[in-house]
């Protein structure tokens, strides 16, 4: 995870001797096939300065403090909403991004940016249950599995206030964006009741543990699920029927970008079918790019439960919204849950 890939591609200096145009791209670690960067430089003559971050909050702090200037960033849904609200994003001129037509209409009008004005979806995913088929009697299809004493000390939860509380809110029949103290109290009680059943609250370790057969079921993000299922045939993934969180990582242009036209060219390039397909093969997250899915072969792509949850379940999925000051409320409640001993 912590691989820091700060790659300055001076390659194109050889291609074009003239003072080369550059763009600076700020992405999640391990979230692109770097070959596509050199391909972009070769085709457009624009150098790419590529840097990576670990969390939305890291990226936000850098952009909001104004110390550095990037031309393309990859914020998640709620972060797009926050940054747009704080005037940190540049509106996208769709005429300059013809390849945006490749993006599935289903994913173009999510509530974090309904027009859309600022963001082009890059990847998407869900939260769900990763389970070991040799350790469960029947395939789970409901969040109730995570409250089932059958799996006592055999389940892993996420050590992350927003995600775990969000799912508990769904279990209690509320919106996963609720900030109503009563709803959150329901969620808190559920998680306190669940606590004796939980083997561990983990983050990145969930991958090693599920691949190693440490637990039968785990709450995971679909990206991690893909990674685990590639490593172990015993694992399978489901988005529970009650609905879940759906998340998007998007491409945006910060308000203080120096090279907006270069950034638009880059985003357009990333939306091209062959490039999006190449990145899918490297990153493994579900993509909203229909043309790329055709390149990859629809049948093969849809075979993965991560890429193809049933539409009726997807309809019940919600994106996270930016909570603003209520983030503190979530943190407070989460601390109360884990410090219950």
């Amino acid at each position: 995870m912590k691989r820091i890939l700060t790659i300055a591609l001076f390659l194109s200096l050889l291609v074009s001797a003239a003072a080369a145009e550059t763009i600076s791209v700020y992405n999640w670690g391990d979230y692109i096939d770097v070959d596509t960067l050199s391909q972009f430089t070769a085709e457009t003559g624009i150098d790419v300065i590529y840097e990576v971050y670990e969390t939305n909050e890291d990226m936000y702090a850098k952009i909001a403090n104004g110390g550095s200037s990037y031309d393309v960033i990859f914020p998640s849904d709620y972060m797009v909403e926050r940054m747009a609200g704080e005037h940190l994003l540049h509106p996208i001129n769709w005429e300059n991004i013809p390849n945006a037509a490749n993006i599935d209409e289903r994913f173009m009008h999510e509530s974090y940016d309904p027009e859309p004005t600022y963001s082009v979806p890059y990847t998407w995913g869900t939260m769900g249950i990763l389970y070991n088929t040799t350790m469960v009697d029947e395939a789970p299809d409901s969040w109730q599995t995570l409250l089932d004493p059958e799996y006592a000390m055999d389940m892993l939860m996420l050590n992350s206030p927003r995600d775990t509380l969000g799912i508990a809110l769904v279990m209690a029949g509320h919106s996963l964006n609720s900030t109503d103290p009563k709803d959150l109290e329901d969620a808190k009680q559920l998680l306190i009741e669940q606590k004796p059943l939980v083997l561990a609250y983990v983050v990145d370790e969930v991958k090693d543990k599920m691949i190693g057969g440490e637990a039968a079921v785990a709450l995971v993000w679909s990206g991690d699920a893909t990674f685990c299922m590639d490593e172990s045939d015993e694992l399978d993934y489901v988005v529970p029927k009650e609905g879940s969180n759906i998340f998007f990582d998007t491409m945006c242009i910060p308000a203080n970008a120096k090279n907006v036209s270069g950034a638009e060219k880059f985003i357009d390039f990333m939306c091209r079918a062959d490039i999006a397909a190449k990145n899918y093969e490297y990153v493994g997250y579900a993509i909203p790019n229909r043309a790329a899915i055709e390149v990859l072969g629809e049948e093969e792509y849809n075979a993965s439960p991560v890429n193809n949850p049933p539409q009726e379940v997807l309809d019940k999925c919600e994106v996270f919204h930016y909570l603003g000051d209520d983030t503190k409320l979530y943190d407070q409640i989460w601390t109360e849950i884990i410090s219950e001993f």
Partner: protein
Amino acid sequence: MKKNRVLSVPFGLWAAIFIVIPLLLVVWYGVTVEEPVAYEEIVSADGTVSYRLENGSVTDEKPWQKKVTVSFSNFRRMVEPTYLKLLIRSLKVAFITTLICLLLGYPVALILTGKDFKHPSLWLMLIILPMWMNFLLRTYSWMSILENSGILNSWIAALRDKIPAFDGWLTSLGVGKKIIFLYNEKAVILGMVYNYLSFMIMPIYTVIEKTDKSLLEAASDLGASPVQSFLRVTLPYSLPGVLEGITMVFVPAVTTFVISQLMGGGKVPLIGDIIQNQFGKSSDWHFGSTLSLLVMVVVLAFMRGLNRIDKDDEPEKEVRIL
């Protein structure tokens, strides 16, 4: 004199940039909060909404700016039982860790300095060697040993297969197929003891090693038994090393967060984990700084207490030896 002062400039700069300024920043963040700016909603006759800010200016757009104000509300939040409970647990875990390190480390240091002990430097090397590896790596190794699907459990399972009597004995004790070693406080303490033990051994070893051996000879010449000369010579002389060892184990143990997350599986949160959350997921640097100040004050108070023991002890020691 002047020359010396010039030589100290780089250190002074270093200390200012990397110690004083960051510390001041922590204090500043600790005593401030970030709040949305206050505004008043004005609904005009035709139903359009505008907003008046505190400074009197009016905008059509809902204000999103935040402002930083000095406030002690985070200090009130800090003394809530939730956080105090976590601080007390951290102190307890650190105390137990330090005690175990002392009980294990002191005899080791003593044995290594024994006059009959061959190749002490080789053994010392073997103690220090693991520290050259990253502690995360070593903690991950403990996880793969102790996990439910780990090495220890698979050995136990193999033994149970081979020896029915062993299996019967464990079953009669009510031990399940898998023994859960990880994900509890004991596992966290084990991880800490393993990681910090050498910090206890080294200072004690150094101090005992430097003690004038003729003092021991003198003690035995004057008829002291080995136990007496240990209690009256070695022990008092080694106290500074012991105190240093205690500091070097206790302080990191009180503030750690990685070991508790990995070995405790997030079920044994310590105050360090909560502080880390504030700078990560919950992104509330202000509250995180307030909690850091709390921990800093506790650690300082602890070090002061230790210093006092150190000073109280010195004259007494002289008397005993004389």
